[in-house]
């Protein structure tokens, strides 16, 4: 065997050893937990043969607590670049089979290296989290590693999309990296996220709770809003990631996002009859997602945070081939009111779209902000303000369609003309007013109703009078607050035109270091 061949076979041996991760036993244990090994995850997610791994031969430099001389393959994390539907991505995947995926300083350095690549080469970053947390033996070096990651998450925010995939435990300080990224993916019974675990909670507060109820995938998808996508299996989760990446650009300098998966842009499916979806009776609920599907290409809508704060719907669709972000009140849930959580959810989504040049289309049908002591005490003023801030701040093309109710503060908040919507259209059913007819009539005609011989009849007559005079789109149209009252069947046509003419939209905002949103 020539020297060269010997060197090459030594490389092959070293590679094979390192790629084994924690070894067969540990891999079998990982699979028994219902989880895939780190490299298998990467190969399922990326285009076949596209993955190039770096830093395979990294070794930890810990010297104390029995770690000296201990071999930890790749220091418990796999990093590299690859592609998804032809789009380049940077990826890291923590390997739970190696020291429980614990984060030591070299482990962190691998992650920060791929983060730096992603930012410099301007491609999306995908982080697969499956780690027991800080490597305690490495002490403050481990904490320093987390800090370096958090800092990069923040600096890269708004420049490249960052996706966190929670495929195992992600506890303590480690949860803050996903929290700083744009989208968090969780898988039922596999993902666990919390700051302090059930044991600490029990010892300090005496409260008993199991891990799944504290920070399982369902909890974060339905209650906390920390997760954006919920899947039943890892495979389903990977499909969600592929779909999302097709709607979003690689970096913030892309002017628009066109699909890599489908290039044709036929109109919506015939089954969505847009003029039949919204009931004329304003007290009847309906699913606003049908309205969205009635205007998007192929009637496709990719919803974000489907289960949390479901009274507002946010997500991506395409109009004539280009990605658009949709924000819509959902009359089906809590009458579509705005509250703390729905304002929070929509505001963050709007800021993502604005950062990545994705135009915004808003469908409006809401009775207003949700009244109540719990909302007020939860800070609905502060949370609600986030929505106003996000819409006002966004400089991407912004189109609003008022479907039915647009009352009070809700009218202003939902991308009104006053917050600089570029185009505002209203359906003939629209009721744009400072409050609902019943409430308004009771205040304006209070004296007449009280002094009347038949207060109930007078009240009814006055409510009807108010409805006729104000609960329609024509008062707002007469002031130019809306640009056109449109036939519902023309909605897609109007959106296409609005987006087309605002392609070169340019807004100059006053110079500033950054704004101070109410978060």
């Amino acid at each position: 065997m020539s020297l060269l061949n010997r060197k090459i076979s030594e490389l092959a041996e070293r590679k094979a050893r390192a790629e084994q991760g924690g070894g067969e036993k540990a891999i079998a244990k990982q699979i028994a937990m219902g989880k895939l090994p780190a490299r298998e995850r990467i190969s399922q997610l990326l285009d076949k043969g596209s993955f190039f791994e770096y830093d395979l031969f990294i070794e930890h430099d810990a010297r104390g607590f029995g770690l000296d001389g201990k071999d930890l393959a790749g220091d418990g994390v796999v990093i590299g670049t690859g592609s998804i539907n032809g789009k380049p991505v940077a990826i890291f995947a923590q390997d739970f089979t190696v020291a429980g995926g614990s984060l030591g300083s070299m482990h962190a350095r691998k992650i920060t290296k791929i983060m730096d690549y992603a930012l410099k080469m301007r491609m999306p970053l995908i982080g697969i989290n499956d780690s027991g947390g800080a490597r305690i033996q490495e002490g403050v070096n481990s904490l320093a590693g987390y800090g370096e990651i958090f800092y990069r998450n923040t600096i890269a925010s708004g420049v490249i999309p960052q996706l966190s995939v929670i495929l195992g435990p992600c506890a303590g300080g480690a949860v803050y990296s996903p929290a700083l990224t744009d989208f968090v993916f969780v898988v039922d019974k596999i993902s666990k996220m919390f700051i302090t675990g059930p044991e600490v909670i029990k010892s300090v507060l005496g409260e008993e709770i199991d891990m799944e109820s504290l920070g399982g995938a369902r909890v974060h998808s339905e209650i906390t809003g920390n997760a954006h996508f919920f899947a039943k299996s890892e495979t389903e989760c990977f499909e969600q990631i592929k779909s999302l990446l097709d709607y979003i650009p690689s970096h913030n300098d892309c002017k628009q996002t066109v699909s890599c998966m489908s290039n044709n842009s036929p109109g919506p499916r015939k089954s969505f009859k847009i003029d039949k979806i919204v009931p004329v009776d304003p007290t009847k609920p309906y699913d606003v997602r049908d309205v969205i599907k009635a205007v998007t290409d192929e009637s496709k809508f990719f919803e974000v945070q489907q289960m949390w704060a479901a009274n507002i719907v946010v997500g991506f669709g395409r109009i004539n081939g280009t990605s658009v972000g949709f924000v819509a009140n959902q009359p089906l849930v809590l009458a579509g009111v705005l509250d703390c959580d729905s304002s929070d959810k929509a505001a963050r989504f709007i800021r993502f779209c604005d950062a990545f040049n994705i135009p915004l289309v808003t469908f409006e049908d809401l009775p207003g902000y949700l009244p109540g002591v719990d909302q007020e005490h939860a800070g609905v003023i502060r949370h609600g303000a986030k929505l106003l801030y996000a819409f006002s701040e966004a400089t991407v093309p912004k189109v609003t369609i008022i479907l039915r109710k647009a009352y009070g503060g809700g009218y202003i908040a939902m991308n009104s003309r006053h917050l600089r919507a570029d185009f505002v259209f209203a359906w003939p059913l629209a009721e744009i007013a400072v409050m609902g007819p019943e409430g308004a009539a009771n205040i304006i005609f209070k004296k007449e109703i009280m002094e009347s011989e038949n207060p109930d009849a007078t009240r009814k007559a006055k409510v009807e009078e108010y409805k006729q005079k104000f609960a329609n789109p024509y008062v707002a149209a007469s002031k130019g607050y809306i640009d056109a009252v449109i036939d519902p069947v023309d909605t897609r046509k109007y959106i296409i035109n609005a987006l087309e003419v605002s392609k070169e939209k340019f807004i100059k905002v006053p110079d500033k270091k950054h704004g101070i949103p109410p978060f």
């Binding site: 010892s203 300090v204 005496g206 409260e207 709770i209 799944e212 109820s213 399982g216 369902r218 909890v219 339905e222 209650i223 009931p279 304003p282 007290t283 009847k284 609920p285 309906y286 699913d287 009359p331 089906l332 849930v333 809590l334 009458a335 579509g336 009111v337 009775p367 207003g368 949700l370 109540g372 719990d374 109710k405 609902g436 019943e438």
Partner: protein
């Protein structure tokens, strides 16, 4: 790890160290977490129950209409999150109820797929 005292201040012994902390009103009034029972359906918003479509001890299929409640100028329909039997109805037609009131109990007939956490039943129209 043991608690030694619960009065206005709380002293905790954790990993051999003593920690003393003052209790705030907010802490004292906090709602203690209780494992939610998906069979108990609570109101998620203050509302008026305008119609009840089921009766006690009747069977119910998944997605079937249970009741209609008016809240925020909307007539919302509550549908069953699973197939089962209506064990108890705790509200009356026309009754005004607050948020978090037990409205009814449905015995889950699909034992195998019980959600592990609280899920609000779908509100569909």
């Amino acid at each position: 790890m043991k608690k030694t005292e619960i009065t206005e201040t709380l002293q905790i012994t954790l990993l051999g160290r003593k920690y003393k902390t003052t209790l705030t009103e907010k802490y004292k009034n906090r709602k203690i977490w209780k494992k939610p029972d998906p069979q108990e359906i609570y109101s998620i918003i203050p509302c008026t129950v305008s119609a009840i479509y089921v009766s006690e001890n009747s069977g119910i299929s998944k997605g079937e209409k249970i009741l209609e409640f008016e809240a925020m100028k909307m007539k919302n329909i509550l549908t069953s999150p699973f197939a089962g039997t209506v064990k108890k109805i705790c509200v009356n037609e026309g009754e005004k109820i607050a948020k978090g009131v037990l409205m009814l109990i449905i015995e889950n007939g699909e034992k195998d797929e019980e959600p592990t956490t609280s899920t609000s039943p779908d509100l569909i129209g």
